[in-house]
Amino acid sequence: MRHFLVMTAFAVLAAVVFGTVAKETKSDRLSYGLKVFLEFLIIGLALAWVLYFIP
């Protein structure tokens, strides 16, 4: 659980900065930040499962 929380904190921090610097309008920033956050989370979980099966 701790690993997931730390990964989520990482995704939040990165998404906040990416969303703030990348787009022009407020709604674009919000949707881009959310997209980046979900991408970090989903790819992180997917990689964790892949690595689980690799000895």
Partner: protein, 144 residues
């Protein structure tokens, strides 16, 4: 038959010297580059993210990199992560002067959050590089 020759002139506008100063300050003090341009909310968000990542990284037991051989590998291997750490500006320099956060000892390495701490310290610097470029672009008039 008339042959027309089109000449394309590309004007490259050089950024004003103030933009370089803003970039330097944005690197040194996370969030300050935006703050000095009156972008208070952006400064708080970006600076807050960098400070949070850096302090969390140290609290999790991560260590900062410096150009020094660990006895097993070349000091050059430390260069890329050191460049990432250096992005945190004064935060890194203060730790360097106080000799805090550079110890890569077995006690910290045994902690479950050790690698996360290292990663947080690295991204603190990398995110501040992004914030610095954003502040520079705003000062140079390339961005709103």
């Amino acid at each position: 038959m008339v042959l027309a020759k089109a000449t394309e002139v590309v004007l490259v506008e050089r950024p004003p010297s103030r933009a370089w100063l803003v970039g330097l300050i944005a690197w040194l003090v996370p969030g300050a580059g935006h703050a000095m341009q009156g972008r208070w909310i952006r400064a708080a968000i970006l600076g807050g993210a960098v400070y949070t990542a850096f302090i969390s990284g140290l609290a999790m037991g991560g260590h900062l990199f410096i150009l020094k051989s660990d006895g097993q590998s070349s000091a050059l291997y430390q260069l890329p992560p050191m460049i990432a750490n250096l992005g945190a500006g004064l935060l890194y320099l203060i730790c360097w002067f106080l000799d805090t956060g550079f110890a890569d000892d077995a006690v910290n390495a045994a902690r479950a959050t050790y690698e996360y701490g290292n990663t947080f310290l690295l991204i603190a610097g990398l995110l501040n590089y992004l914030a610095m470029l954003d502040a520079f672009d705003i000062a140079a008039g390339r961005k709103e």
